[in-house]
Symmetry: C4
């Protein structure tokens, strides 16, 4: 049985509308980081030379898009909000709307290799890990004791959904270190994890 709504609780309509707005804007602003290449040579060669900015664009588009899909799934289960949930959701939106910045770091520094490529990719990884943590915190806040969901999950389902979040968070955190071994490999692991999240999800 779910906990009864209190005065402090509200339905999730405006939270979802605001979140949809931030996700939609962050995913669309990524295009502003794509620069029309300058310099000499044919346009075709310059575009090919700029492959890291397109790889970073696609990766971030996939991450934000899939996080939106999962936010959508999660808020089919979450039926009420309270003030802590609003702030945890803001924390998630902070990392989502910050993502274009490390994306542009990766765009600019990945192609050059060396320590700067690793730092850029590590900052990008840290941003993803922080987003995954915020996602977990939202879920914990909502499901504990069936506080903000329509029907409590049961102890086993709760543990298994939290475990799945923890694994994702751990992998993103591990790519921070991996970036110093191989920045392109770390980006590849993140792309693979995005695809995994695309096919697996919180059951709602």
């Amino acid at each position: 049985m779910s906990a009864p709504a209190t005065d402090d609780q509200a339905d999730t309509g405006r939270l979802e509308a605001f979140s949809d707005g931030v996700f939609a804007i962050a995913i669309t602003l990524l295009v502003l980081e794509l620069r029309v290449p300058g310099g000499d040579g044919s346009l075709w060669h310059k575009l090919i030379h700029e492959w890291p900015q397109f790889a970073a664009y696609l990766s971030s588009f996939a991450v934000i898009g899939i996080m939106w899909v999962n936010h959508h799934s999660m808020f089919r289960a979450i039926v009420r909000t309270d003030r802590p949930l609003l702030f945890l959701n803001l924390l998630l939106l902070l990392w989502m709307s910050l993502l274009p910045f490390p994306t542009s770091l990766v765009s600019r520094y990945l192609g050059g290799g060396g320590p700067d490529a690793s730092v850029a990719e590590a900052v990008y990884s840290a941003n993803l890990a922080l987003a995954a943590i915020a996602f977990s915190l939202i879920w914990v806040r909502a499901v504990r004791g069936g506080r903000l969901i329509a029907a409590p999950l049961g102890a086993a389902a709760e543990r298994s959904s939290l475990l799945r979040f923890s694994v994702g968070t751990f992998i993103y955190a591990a790519t921070i270190g991996l970036a110093f071994l191989s920045a392109p490999l770390a980006l590849g692991v993140q792309a693979a994890l995005a695809l995994y999240y695309g096919f697996e999800q919180v059951s709602a």
Copy 2:
């Protein structure tokens, strides 16, 4: 008879809200590609000299606007979503939100002519063709077997609506090649096709 909704299916409200957001932002961000002309000479002459950026702006505004109108029509027929539809819709949104980038390539290179104008226009054409393909995939996913629509179309109507999509996709794909014969002509064909889509549409 339409297929019954499964656990994995949801209504289309948040998909439409998120898509409206991305369409609205992509169409409005186009203005950021318009540069205030620098250099010598009167402002009036500099603005006229910059005609390619205004032509590209209008063309992309028309394309995104009309795709929004048709998305709107299509989702009057589509009444449920499932996970594959969410991802196919994300694919469409990817091409919509990327469009400001090839638009700025066309703005900068069309006026100069030569191979760079053709490459810029071909990249722009490829973006449009990929968007048309994503549109078709959404429609196929939704109508096959009446999976996600209120009332199945019937075999004849299904074939005719898919044919219309295929023609559009084929023409956009053909403008990729046409761009190497004449970049301005390819842009003109795309503008004409946008107008055609403005008057003809998925019957919903």
Copy 3:
């Protein structure tokens, strides 16, 4: 008696959502045209020296804000859409989302005076006049024969509401010419007209 809804007609929900998005983005993107002043001297003096960009920002914010308020009022009366209305609304959104461009022309050229200030202000005026025309066309499409409104206005109310639109359009058009006599005066007339529209409106 209003005309019965046809197959081609739909409710106004998504049109309003998409329009709200474009208005909200256009009004917020204006801030990106504000440049942090470079060069020598104290920050305070540089900010004061940049007054034209703040005047243009405030003017465009007021225009878009008030047009949103009136769009809101208008769509309390309009209860159905059809395909022509969707396109006329897109036309209005075109001029709304283009506005940051002439705003930045005014920001950059008004302070310098001379013919370039007049051209910048005339382009700005033309944008406003075209938006006012699009607004009138939406209203004509909706009210003629009570086509898309809940209750027809009656011939007298219809004429008087159209007259009010025509006056606004005429004044904006007149500021195109006025810009060549005095660009700051034309901007002042537009600010005054925005205030007038703020207090007077379509009765709904």
Copy 4:
């Protein structure tokens, strides 16, 4: 007893949608002010050297996010709009969407210290104070005589809620002066106040 709705009054749906849009865009545009550092040295050192832009980003994200949360709370109590409320809300949105500009002033000038750091921080403080004033005006308009709320607050609750707004406005106004004593201290006070508003709010 609340006042009966008049013809001029409407429900708050589109006001909330438009406001959500502007809040969401303003909070997400902040990222565009973050510049990838140029110049020599390792990327890591350059990022650390750029701490003022990250402090300003976080501060503005917190301010806009918390103002959105409180707008959300406030419009759970406010159930009707009228034309003055629409304009007071536009005034609030003006200050919200302007905030990225003083944020970029602080980003650029806070690190250098001296009078320019104080001017940048004072402009930022003035923007926050003006937003707080607009917030109070919305609240006054809505609660006086129970005009636009579901159930009047009672004289005591009305006074106490207004007092809380006044205190916030006064503190923001005081940081304008404080900026000339110590710009970083003023920024710290604003961050503390944002946290306070995060935990305390209009009871709705």
